[in-house]
Symmetry: C2
Subunit: 200 residues, 2 copies
Amino acid sequence: MFVTEQIRENVQQTDMDRRQQKTRTAIYDALTKLLIKRRFEDITVQEIIDEANIGRSTFYSHFETKDQLLEEMCNEMFSHVFSDSLMPEGSHDFSGNHADIRTLLEHILWHISDHKDNISSIMNGESEKIFTRYFSEYLEKAFGKIIEHLDMNVPLEFKKQFVIGSFINTVKWWISTGLKQEPGEIINEYLTCLLGGKAG
Amino acid sequence: MFVTEQIRENVQQTDMDRRQQKTRTAIYDALTKLLIKRRFEDITVQEIIDEANIGRSTFYSHFETKDQLLEEMCNEMFSHVFSDSLMPEGSHDFSGNHADIRTLLEHILWHISDHKDNISSIMNGESEKIFTRYFSEYLEKAFGKIIEHLDMNVPLEFKKQFVIGSFINTVKWWISTGLKQEPGEIINEYLTCLLGGKAG
DNA sequence: TACTTTCTGAACACTGTGTTCGGTAAAATG
DNA sequence: CATTTTACCGAACACAGTGTTCAGAAAGTA
């Protein structure tokens, strides 16, 4: 089970005072809105407070620092994007079935595509690293075993690094150029490059 | 040999006051030293000033901001690491000669290896992006045409993204794990993954 | 209603940035 | 060597942003 799973529950407690929920949502929305216009590093706490229309001390009673806010917001979002729902129990064993892998990878991209606006605005700056961390962790869990079975004549650690790294890289590139291609197209091209046109 | 020593020649114009040269070197050396202990974002201008043993206003007469200092320092360093000396005129035409490519890529890694200490300490934080930018630009120039001739059945832009991205990725991984392998080893593994064991 | 929790916002201490300026030291010039 | 030019020094300053505190107001809960 993912670390991220536990985090989500912390953030959205059902037994939360309505005021707290309102505040928290207002802060997330405010930051999300501000991130469209400028980088996280250039946004001040005061701006978030003004945009969210809350008191200064209220902000600091919810988040220790601005960075913690980003961290939690990203946790929230990426844990959703890379949730276990993408990875149903039954499909953990791919046993070299490339069709299934293709479907699953494509599914991930569709998920990302659904969060296009949020992810895109977050992808400039510090938050890119959080994205990479989550994505990497997720892929390692989901595909670690399949990667082991791929026969490339290189050490395992290198293979993992290469396969996962190049995939994340491709996805970042896809996002940064505005998600112009269809998910299926990207996955096909990725697998073509990775497997050199070899059949499954 | 320390990077800063090599930089000195490039940075210091011959018509520069000796005092200016001394100051500039002191600042570079100070930052280089501080970067070993902590991330650039956590280093204050005052610390750099103290370490360099110069006056506050002197620092600001040399650099407008702390970020500009980093930018210039990285420019200096990476432009040296990825200098044209790596890319002699005669070798611009690879015409599918994989042996030459192999040699050249290996050469790049040796160069990086020579600057191990400086690069490693810089690779945490903001400066990683500068590294990536430089590296990407350089590789595009040096290998753009060869990549075009690689026959992978994907659009050119995707191919470039994949080949260059996965190489930079691999190098970053190599650096972050402490340059444990020999350059030749890394290049072999990279090319194995990229070309799928196809012969040149 | 009575009680509890959260929100509010002004005031405050603190850290770090970048500027200013009169005085000092060093280098270049002739 | 004397003169002029240039760079360095560093204290003082203005400023921006962070994070805390606290007493009173407002909203939720039972």
